[in-house]
Structures are given as C-alpha cells and as structure tokens.
Amino acid sequence: MNGAACTMVGIEKAFGPNRVLRGIDMVLWPGQVTVLMGANGAGKSTLVKLLCGVHQPDGGRIELFGRPYAPLTPAEAINAGVVTVHQSINDGVIPDLDVASNLMLDRLTDARSGFFVRGRALRAEAARIAGAMGLDLDVRATVGDLGVAERQLIAIARAMARDPKVLILDEPTSSLSATEAERLFALLDRLRDQGVAILYISHRMSDIRRIADRIISMRDGQISGTFEDAPLDYEGAVTAMLGHGLTQVDITIPVPGPEVLRLDGLCLSSGGQPIDLSLRRGEVVAVTGLLGSGKTALASILFGLMQATAGTVTLNGARFAPQSPGDAIRAGVFLCSKDRASNGVIPDFDITGNLTLPFTRRHARLSFLSGTSERAAARAMIEHLGIICQGPGDGIDTLSGGNQQKVMVGRWLAQTSQVLLLDEPFQGVDIRARRDIGNRIREGAAERATIVFAAELDEALEIADRIVVLNEEALVGEHRNENVDLNRMLAQVSGQEIATGQI
C-alpha cells in the first residue's frame, strides 16, 4: 500500500442499534478522483463524517499517508490536510458575513492570526482565492444575499483555500447548473493533476461520467462494488449500489380516471416558461429535476404557500388558487413537505400528536380532543405503515429517520385527498422504509391524484406511472414509466436536451 493517500480498514460505526457502517475497506490514491455512490441511507455521509472528524469510528482504523489518522474534531482533520465540502450548503458558509470573511474563515478561527481583523489584507487574499477558482464575485457582498449556487461555490472555494491533500466533496453539484458544475470539474481536474486525492460523493450519472477515475458503490453500510478498469462499468456500479439495475422496476400502470388537476400555462416565477400538465385520478406522477428546477416552487403554488405569476390551476373543474395551506387542505390538496426536521416533525409531540396534527378536528367534539379517538387512529396508521415503535405514545424523536418519515406521510393519509403532493418523501430514509412508503403511496393512489417530487431518478422510477422532468422552471420532458429511455431522461434533467414539449 505504498503511496496511498488515505487507507481505511474495517471501519465500523453504529448509532444506537442502527449499524450504519459494517466494515468498510477503502483506499484513496493521490491524483485520482474516486467516486463514492450509494443510495440514501447507505452510509456515505457517515463515512464522510468519520473522515472529517465529526464522528469517531467504533472500530477499524484510518491511515493518512501511512500514519495513523484519528481526528477528534473537524479542525484536526483540516490541519491534517483532509478538507470536506459538505452536502448541506449552509454548513459551509455563514450567511451574515461577507464573501471575503467566508473565504478566509479558517484564517480567522486560527488562534495565531492576531486579535484584530485586517479588512484590506483579508479582502485582497480572498479576491486572490476567488480569482484562482474562477469565481467572479464582489468579495464585499453578503453571502446571505447570494444564490444557492454561489454559496456552494464559496464553500468549495473555502475548502480550496486550505490547500487540501485529501478533498472530500459530498454531492457538490446538487445545486449547481451545468455551467457552474463544469467550472467545478475544471477545478477538480487541476487539483487532480496536482496530486490531490479526491473523494467525490454523488449519484448523478452525468457528474460521474465526467469526473470519475474509479467508482466505489456502497449499499447498507458495506462496499458492494469497486470499479477501476477503464472503461468504467457505470451500469454495474448502479446495480451494485441499488441491488438491482435502474430499469428493473415493477410498476403496473393503471387506467387513469377522470381529470382531477390541470395546470394551464402556469409560470413558477415571472418570466418563467409556462407549464401545462394534466393529472388524473388514480395516477402517480413523479416530478423530477435538479435543485432549483422548480419542483418545490410548483409544490408551494399548489399548496398555497406561493402564488403563480401567470396561468391557472383547475381542480375538479373549478378554479383553484389557494392563499394558504389551510385553503389547500380544505380543498383536499395535501402536501407532505420535504426536509421533515424543519418542515414536518413536531419534536415535542409523541407519534399520535404528530400523526393527527393536520386533522385534529376529526378527533375533537366542541374543540375538545378525544384521546381515545386519536390513539385509535394512530394505532391504525402505525399498523398500516409498519412504523416500528413501542406504541403510539412514543416521542417522535425516539424513531429512526425512516419511521419518522412514515409518520410524516401517514399524517396526510389519514383523510382522503383529491391531490396528494409528496415533496422528496424518501429523503433521509433507508431502503426498507422507502419500499414501505412507496407501496403505501401506490396502494392508496386509486382514490386520488398523486404527485411525488423527487430529484433522484431511481426514486421516481420506483414509484410513478408517469415521470415529468423539470429544468430551470420549464417542463422539458414527460415519460410513461415503461421502458424509459434513461439517457434521454438524464439529458433532460441536466438541461442538455432543449425542451421539445410533450412526448
């Protein structure tokens, strides 16, 4: 193992009863981009957190250039030359500070850098770094005012400023446009030539094709495949990651009922492309696209959180323009929001309270809640969704991510809806819970129209009868979920195929 930048042997990590990593062996070589692929919950992020000192492994060892490496804090990891760009952008930047301070943050936290901030020198140095990155930004601008992509690039630029020997990028392109991503790839090419070992986590095929020298697939906390012979076997890597190929999905598309929801020339933002879409009872439609493609905006408009700038929505033949979530719910349009920790879970409530939250009225007489009625409903839903818990009185924070998500989805299954919107229902969910949730969504689909917003194609393929692709707030493709041309769909997702209207 001469010359390896980073060697991991038998890494184990568990959170409570949940064994997230089960014996990971991995080697990173200098001057090579290793792509790590894995489905949600495979343990990628945990592995990254071990490498960058956020968590410590329970077993196994890590070596860095032949020396033992066991960082206890992120600062130790950085000093050792292991630099990480995290998936969540806001971990990487401080929105209230300007660009220069953000780029130079590590200089500021360094105890040797003196008491006073020297603004001019700081900005000059920051401008140099930004220039080297090809970042065209005013270093005095406040980061909070910048867009998501720019923040991401700043987070990456900051990582570069630390002169890394091992660079870890956790899904860095999830919020970048194709051009911005290309800028990042060019930079990674340069770092690779300088001999930096790069661990690149992604499951976006276009990225992987562009950048990978080597692919490692992870599944259920183990390495399920290593691919390093050119040409790389992308299909094999995906199969190893999912346990089945992307195309192996078993969906019987039902005959749809009458039209429930109809979008006519709906513009998600001023100057946006008009979107036309028709949704029938019994259908499950997946809306896919990158971050910022308009998925969340569309969900927000249908749920009354945002107003469309142009166009109309028709629900069961009547004009539908909800002003608030309350309006939407009364009309029978429910949204299970993405990012359950901030948008869904009531941490102080037990499972019952979380399940009955939107429809407390069902369990109340003259506003007085009936505990019996609530608990009965909760028990039924726990049974129906297979939520693993001691009972309906368990605190929501005692549940695993997948079970919490089941509660979030179950909340909206308690009452029959006209249109059920689910925004990233498989976010942060293990593969079993994902199957369970998917099955329940499809089981009840006959009595409503269902839209699932999912950035990941395999999730969309797993659940939908029909897949709609959004790119930059325009509808660029529509596929019936039968023998889907994956390459075409990927091209539409990444914006490489010009909008051709409906298919």
Binding site: F303, L305, S324, P325, G326, A328, I329, L335, S337, S342, N343, G344, V345, I346, P347, D348, F349, G353, L357, P358, T360, R361, H363, A364, S367, F368, L369, D397, R411
Partner: protein, 337 residues
C-alpha cells in the same frame, strides 16, 4: 437501568416532592404555618401573580414571550381608578374598560409580532415602556384617589364603588367564616380554564405545535398567525384581570404598585417547566410554580427571615427549577447527538 428509572422519577416528581417537603418542614418549624388561615394567605399572596403567570404561559406555549404583562396590569390598575374616581363611572364600566384595554394591547402585541415581524421580546418590551409612560400621562404622574386635585384644578369627586372593592376584598365562607378571598377563587377558576384550554382542546394542541415547530405547524394547515395573536390577547386580558384585582384590593390608583408583577409571573411560568417533568410551559406547572414561591416566602417570613432576602430566594428557586428542566431532561433524552 436503575439509575435511569431514578432519574426519570426525580425529573417527574422531584419538584412536587420538594414542595411537600417544604410544607412539612415549615409546618413543624414555624408554629401557625399549618392552618387554613395561613394557607389562604399564601394563596392570596400569589393569586394576582398567578393569573398573570397563566397568561404569560399561553405566550410561552406558542414560542413567544410577553414582557408587557406587568405594565398591562398596572395600566389596568390606573385605568380602573381613573374610570371610577375621575370619570365617576360604575364598577361594570371600569372592569369592562380594563378588559378591553388588555385585549387591545394583546392584539397590538400580536400584530407587531406577526405582521410587522418584530421579535416578540422587543415588541413586548416596547409595549411595556409605552404603557408605563402612558398610564402616568392623564394624572401627570400622580396616584389616583378620591379628593385628589386634577390637572385642570378641580377635585376628583368619584369613589371606588363597593361592587368593585368586593372583587378584591370580599371573602367567601368555607368551613371558617370569611375565609376565601375573591382573587383566590378567580385564580383557581382561571387556572382550570387555561389548563383545560391548553391541554384538552385542539386549539391548545395546535398552540403547542406552533411553539415546538412553527413551520411544520403552518404546513399542516394551522393558522399560525391567528393563534399567536390569540395567545397575546389571552395574556393581555389576564394581565388586566390581575390589575383590576390589585386595584380592588388597594382601593386607590397607586402609581408605585405592581413593580414586581412581571418578574414574579415570568418566574412562576418558568418554574412550571420543572413540574411533572413537563419541560415545557404548562398551566398546572405555572400554578404550582406560583404557589411554590408563595409557600417559600410565607414560611421564611414566619421564621423571621428579613424581607430583603425575598428576591434572592425567588431567584434561587428559579435557577434550581431551570436546572431541573434543562440539564436533567436533556440527560434523559440521551443528549449527545
């Protein structure tokens, strides 16, 4: 496992056990502490604070905070005196005007927070200053009593009506004659009402949901703004009830009264977090918190502790209660993550 059980027991019942222990100790150590008269005295001493505390509990439940309750109470005190003594109105009109004022202040607080997006502490702090100043303007900073000289040179002829004074001074018979004062009865009624509202109705449930995760509650269709405004209005109205009772007890519009109301009420609300291991604002805990402080002060007074140690004792109780709530509860949850 054993330790875990013990810890859970301590969190749940620790504060109540402490309360019982305290009562037992004072009953033995201070002669005359155990008895209906003494008990009623304790209740009476905490009744007004307790009513205010129940109001502030409602704002704590929605994740807010109302700093204006003390000044709403003193404003109600001054307003009721002004209505009767200067404007020579009836008790009913005076009470009505005070309740209306409390509701209005709560509404303004709520609108400032919800519509103008002013942070709750700042909005209610501003309101507190505003009211402290406002209540002094009509009388040019003087207390109100019958026979006082008004700014225009005339003399105030009105009197506190007997019906109004009844609110603060009448005592109902229970076992002993003239035992239970009206404010104590009102405190108990308000306590039960707030408890029922917060714990048993869906409105209370939704208010707790807002306090725990406002975004999630909103996305579940809750009208977050309306409930927040409601919470501040409840707080304002209950504070004005406290002010009315204070005026009725004093029988004059005393400018210097009610200085301690805000801090005492907030302390009672926060001590309530520790009761039964709730770790969140709750009506029962607030009432117990208010009583706890009352018992402690009464006991210490009867054991001849000097009056100037009172605030120190209250502060110490509050700190202990907060340690109970936050340090122990976070340990129970396993902490760490």
């Amino acid at each position: 496992m054993q330790n875990q059980k013990l810890l859970n027991f301590a969190i749940r019942y620790g504060f109540l056990i402490l309360l019982v222990g305290l009562v037992t100790y004072f009953s033995v150590a201070a002669s005359g502490f155990a008895g209906p008269r003494s008990a009623v005295f304790i209740f009476q001493s905490v009744a007004i604070t307790g009513i205010l505390a129940l109001g502030v509990t409602c704002t704590l439940v929605v994740g807010g905070f109302d700093l204006s309750i003390g000044s709403v109470a003193t404003s109600a005190l001054m307003l009721s005196a002004y209505m009767m003594v200067v404007l020579e109105q009836s008790a009913l009109v005076a009470v009505g005007a005070c309740l209306l004022m409390g509701a209005l202040v709560g509404l303004i607080n709520g609108l400032l927070i919800v519509r103008m997006k002013v942070p709750d502490l700042l909005a209610t702090l501003g309101m507190m200053f505003l009211l402290i100043g406002l209540q002094r303007i009509p009388t040019e900073g003087r207390s109100i009593s019958t026979g006082m000289t008004l700014p225009d040179g005339s003399t105030a002829e009105g009197v506190f009506s007997p019906a109004f004074l009844w609110l603060g001074r009448h005592r109902f018979d229970l076992v002993l004659e003239n035992l239970i004062p009206v404010p104590v009865v009102l405190f108990l009624i308000v306590g039960v009402l707030v408890w029922v509202f917060l714990e048993l109705t869906r409105h209370g449930r939704l208010m707790y949901a807002i306090g725990s995760n406002e975004r999630a509650a909103g996305l579940a269709g809750t009208n977050v703004n309306r409930y927040k405004i409601l919470a501040y209005m409840i707080s304002g109205v209950l504070a004005s009830v406290g002010g009315i009772l204070l005026a009725a007890r004093l029988g004059r519009g005393d400018i210097a009264s009610g200085n301690n109301l805000l801090l005492d009420a907030v302390a009672a609300g926060l001590i309530g977090f520790a009761v039964l291991g709730a770790a969140k604002p709750n009506a029962f805990g607030t009432a117990i918190g208010a009583l706890f402080v009352g018992i402690l002060l009464q006991g210490l007074t009867m054991m001849n502790a000097p009056y100037y140690t009172q605030d120190f004792v209250k502060g110490a109780v509050l700190v202990v209660a907060l340690v109970f709530t936050f340090a122990l509860s976070s340990k129970r949850r396993g902490g760490g993550h």
